[in-house]
Amino acid sequence: MVKAVMHALGAEALLLRTTFLGIEVIAKVRVRKPYRSRELDEALRRRRTEVEAKIISQLRLAGVPVPAVLYVDPSDGLILLEYVEGPLLKELIKEDSLGRARKYVEALGRYVALMHGLGIAHGDLTTSNVIIFRDTPYIIDFGLSRFTTKMEDFGTDIHLFIRVLESAHFRFKEVLLRSFLKGYSSVAGRERSRELMDIVKEIRMRGRYVEERRKVGG
């Protein structure tokens, strides 16, 4: 019997720390949600587990820093992932570590561009979903990620990232966004980045009561 300890309770999954074939792992278990009907719940959990495992594996092979997938069981909503240890990016965004945070955010921008280049959108790109491990920003939690070719989905990643900067790190929003875009455009190219930022603007303007739209609309 292998010992498992509770690591974290995410919004949709339980993370347990345990060992698998002698390796330190995180077991991500998508638990049943009591507020969803059984049919919807099972379909969502299975689909999300399969897609998540596929996406993480592809990213790992392509050189994007993500934890390695070691085992998958979609019907149980289970994925075993390499244990990646370190502070969350969110925790480093403060006055006395801003220099480091900017460096990691810039690197994150590069990795996100690489990920988008592979036709993958993360779906929940926040500063809580980046762990600093071996001086590298590891992207975690691909629970809402998807294979896509739509600029809209890539734009949503950036939109979400900007939104979390606004809501949780509003004092450093401008500098961190600059670092992120610097990293992003160094991989995706200027033109592609500009195109994407236009989409982001559009997404933001679609939201209700947006300041920018008011200015445009008069």
């Binding site: 919004a11 949709e12 009591p34 507020y35 009907s37 929940d124 939201g207 209700r208 300041e211 008011r214």
Partner: protein, 340 residues
């Protein structure tokens, strides 16, 4: 301290009068514009407000038995909402303030929904789930403002379910005895129709679901109750999921449901099931104050006025897209509210 508030952002022209000691609510007068068919026509609603507004204001004063001279300040919802409707309320409020020489307090409609919810339920620092015809917002207080953690990327939940039931011929009326037509129809649903469940991070999107649900209906392959059931399950589950993400992100221990759609029993049960698992409490605004009303504007006006928030009459312009997270909330930093 006695403050009068005027609400006129959408279909309701409401006038409330409140004070900062028990009983808080002194007067609550309302008149509602009910369209003959379809949704709200902004011009028609504003015309209704213009003709019924004065008597509604007088009615509020009659309820308390005071004169306008005895009010300490006038407050008004300057946004967000429909321009023609907002302008009617703003015009009445500016006139009252100028004529009686009393301060004018600007109030954000979304903030007002939150504040009346907090004071009536006792929630102190909740994750706010604001669901109405025009709004779908997950927010929480942080560093001086209500920060938006999630919202709809396109149409609001209320707008979505209203449009759906209208398109399939179930409405108007949209709500019968406190129950939405979608929920009434869903009660006899049995089979689950696969519809797009869209959660993007902390945001939801309903436009794809609307298209798919209407397509499923028109295909004739499923019964309407099955589609209603599936629409309800998918839409409500997505909202609860983003709220759960908001809790996980903010660490708040309370959930406060505000806005017209918050009255739904089914939705509330789903929230309670989620909250029980996470060990947080759910608070729901009483139905009477979950919908648009003048009392919530007056109460928020009072909170703001106590902090010295006023606006000059000549600068009191409406803002149709006045975002929740643009408003400073000075009373929260001092623990604000009833005894603040």
């Amino acid at each position: 301290m006695v403050v009068l508030g005027i609400e006129s952002t959408a279909h309701t022209f409401g006038v409330g009068i409140v004070q900062d000691s028990e009983p808080l609510i002194l007067a609550d007068a309302r008149t509602k514009y009910v369209p003959e068919k379809g949704g709200i026509h902004p011009r028609e609603a504003s015309l209704h407000f213009m003709s019924e507004g004065p008597s509604t204001i007088l009615e509020a004063f009659r309820q308390v038995g005071i004169t306008p001279d005895e009010v300490d300040a006038f407050s008004v919802a300057l946004g967000p909402g429909l321009g023609p409707c907002l302008r009617v309320g703003a015009t009445f409020a500016r006139a009252l303030s100028a004529y009686y020489g009393k301060p004018l307090v600007p109030v954000n409609h979304a903030v007002a929904h939150i504040e009346i919810g907090k004071v009536l339920t006792g929630a102190e620092d909740p994750l706010i789930v604001y669901l109405s015809g025009g709004n779908t917002i997950i927010a929480a207080y942080e560093a001086g403002r209500y920060r938006v953690f999630g919202e709809t990327l396109d149409i609001a939940l209320g707008n979505f379910i209203d449009t759906f039931v209208r398109e399939v011929g179930l409405a108007p009326p949209y709500v019968v005895e406190g129950k939405h037509q979608l929920e009434i129809c869903a009660e006899s649903g049995k089979r689950f129709v696969d519809l797009p469940y869209v959660v993007k991070g902390q945001d939801v999107s309903f436009s794809g679901l609307l298209t798919a649900a209407l397509k499923a209906y028109r295909s004739g392959k499923w019964g309407l109750p099955d589609i209603c059931l599936s629409v309800r399950e998918v839409a409500y589950s997505a909202i609860v999921e983003v709220a759960e993400r908001g809790l996980s992100h903010t660490g708040k221990k309370e959930i406060l449901l505000v806005g017209g759609v918050a009255a739904s029993r089914v939705l509330r049960d789903k929230f309670e099931a989620m909250a029980k698992e996470r060990g947080v409490s759910v608070y729901v605004v009483p139905p009477k104050y979950a919908v648009d009303n003048g009392v919530m504007i007056a109460w928020t006006g009072l909170l703001a006025f106590r902090e010295g928030v006023t606006v000059k009459v000549e600068e009191a312009r409406v803002n149709q897209r006045w975002r929740l997270d643009e408003v400073d909330i000075p009373w929260m930093s001092r623990g604000g509210g009833r005894d603040g």
